[in-house]
C-alpha cells in the first residue's frame, strides 16, 4: 500500500499542478488597466456592415482577437484621441519583432449611423491606421450591440451653450437636426477568437499598457 501511495503522490501532485495551471489562466492574470471578465460574454447584435467587406458579423471576429471602440466621426475630441492611441499601439506591435502577441483587429463601431455612411466611416478610420475597420448598421442593431456590451451613449443637442435635454427626434429645433453630439463610453473592448467579450480596457488608454495587458490575456487564454 505504501509502495502504491508513493507512486500515486507524485502523480496527484502533478495533476494538482496541472489543474492549478489551467485555473491560473485568466483569473490570476495581473493586468494594469484591463478588466478581465470572469467568464467570456456573448455579444448580441453583431450584424453590421463594412464598406468593402460587406457583412460584419460573428464570423468576422472568429479566429482572431479584436478590439471594439464605439464612436462617431463627428466626435470632436475623444474618438480622434482614442484612434491615435490605438494607431500608436499598432505601430508598436508591428515594430516589435520579438513581441509574442497576435495583432488585434481594430474595429470602430459608429454610434451615429444617421451621419456615418460606410464609405465616410472607412475613409475616416483608415486615416489613423490602414488596418482599422469602420463598421456601421441599423440604429436598432447598434443599440442592441451597445446594450449587450454595456456601452452607454446619448445623443445631445446644444443651443446657445445650453443642453437641450431630453430631446426626441420629433422636437429638435429647426436647423439643429445634424448638430448633435454623442456622449459615450470611452472603453475599448477585447473580443476573443471565439467571438466573445473577454476584457474591457478602461480609459485613459496608454498604448504600452494596452500591449502588455492584451499580451498577458492572450498568453493565458485558451
Amino acid at each position: 500500500m505504501k509502495k502504491k501511495l508513493s507512486g500515486f503522490i507524485p502523480f496527484l501532485s502533478a495533476l494538482v499542478l496541472l489543474l492549478a495551471g489551467c485555473q491560473q489562466e485568466l483569473a490570476s492574470v495581473k493586468t494594469e488597466a484591463a478588466f478581465i471578465l470572469p467568464e467570456e460574454a456573448a455579444i448580441d447584435g453583431l450584424k453590421l456592415t463594412h464598406v468593402s467587406q460587406g457583412d460584419f458579423d460573428s464570423d468576422s471576429v472568429k479566429g482572431k482577437w479584436s478590439l471594439f471602440f464605439f464612436g462617431y466621426t463627428h466626435c470632436p475630441d475623444v474618438c480622434p484621441t482614442e484612434l491615435y492611441r490605438m494607431a500608436e499601439m499598432m505601430g508598436k506591435i508591428e515594430a516589435a519583432a520579438g513581441l509574442k502577441m497576435e495583432s488585434p483587429q481594430v474595429v470602430f463601431i459608429s454610434l451615429d449611423p444617421q451621419r456615418d455612411t460606410p464609405e465616410l466611416l472607412q475613409k475616416y478610420v483608415g486615416f489613423y491606421h490602414p488596418s482599422f475597420l469602420g463598421v456601421t448598421g441599423e440604429q436598432s442593431t447598434i443599440d442592441r450591440l451597445a446594450k449587450s456590451m454595456g456601452v452607454y451613449y446619448q445623443r445631445v443637442y446644444h443651443l446657445n451653450g445650453k443642453v437641450l435635454d431630453p430631446v426626441s427626434q420629433e422636437n429638435v429645433p429647426e436647423g439643429l437636426e445634424n448638430s448633435y453630439l454623442v456622449n459615450h463610453s470611452a472603453a475599448i473592448f477585447l473580443i476573443n477568437p471565439r467571438g466573445k467579450l473577454q476584457a474591457v480596457l478602461t480609459p485613459p488608454h496608454d498604448p504600452d499598457v494596452m500591449i502588455r495587458d492584451i499580451s498577458s490575456i492572450q498568453s493565458a487564454w485558451r
Binding site: 466626435c75 484621441t81 491615435y84 478610420v125 451653450g161 443642453v163 456622449n183 498604448p207
Partner: protein, 158 residues
C-alpha cells in the same frame, strides 16, 4: 494741424502699446492643430494660454482664416466612464495662471472644414479676449499621438 497729427500719432502709439501689453499679458505657447482624416467633420486645436496679469482673462471668441462653418470652444469631461463634450461660451485663464488646451480637456473645434489641412500646414487663428483685444495665433498641423509622462502621470502630446 501739427498738434492734430501728433495727437493722432500719440493715439496710434498708445493703441499699439495697449496691444502689446495685452499680448504680453496672455502668452500663447505651443499652438497646434491635430492632424485629421481628409473628411473629418471637425478639427481640434490646442495650445497653452498663460495669463501674466493680475486679472482673469477669457477667450470669448475664436475666428480662423480656414474655410470652416464656425469655431467652437469645448471642454471634454469624463464622468462615470462616459466622455461628455460640453460647448463653452469662453475659456477662462485665471490671474497668474494658465489653462492648457489639450486632448481630453479644453479645446477649440473648427467645424466642417472645407478642406482639412495636412501635416505641417499652418492655420491662422484670432482669439478674441474678454477685454476686447484680439490675439493672432499660427497653429501648425501635427500628429496627435499620446505619450504618458512618467513624472506627472499625465497624458502628453508629442
Amino acid at each position: 494741424m501739427k498738434s492734430n497729427t501728433s495727437r493722432a500719432l500719440g493715439t496710434l502709439l498708445l493703441s499699439l502699446l495697449a496691444f502689446s501689453v495685452a499680448a504680453e499679458e496672455l502668452m500663447i505657447t505651443n499652438p497646434w492643430v491635430r492632424s485629421a482624416p481628409p473628411n473629418a467633420p471637425a478639427l481640434g486645436v490646442f495650445m497653452k494660454l498663460s495669463n501674466h496679469s493680475s486679472d482673469e482673462i477669457a477667450v470669448v471668441e475664436v475666428r480662423t482664416s480656414l474655410e470652416v462653418s464656425h469655431a467652437e470652444m469645448h471642454r471634454t469631461v469624463m464622468t462615470d466612464g462616459v466622455m461628455k463634450m460640453i460647448p463653452q461660451k469662453q475659456i477662462p485663464v485665471a490671474a497668474h495662471s494658465s489653462t492648457e488646451l489639450k486632448p481630453g480637456s479644453w479645446h477649440i473645434m473648427l467645424m466642417q472644414p472645407e478642406q482639412v489641412p495636412v501635416m505641417g500646414d499652418s492655420v491662422h487663428l484670432t482669439l478674441v479676449l474678454s477685454d476686447g483685444t484680439e490675439q493672432m495665433v499660427v497653429a501648425t498641423v501635427r500628429k496627435g499621438e499620446m505619450k504618458m509622462d512618467s513624472h506627472s502621470h499625465e497624458m502628453k502630446m508629442d
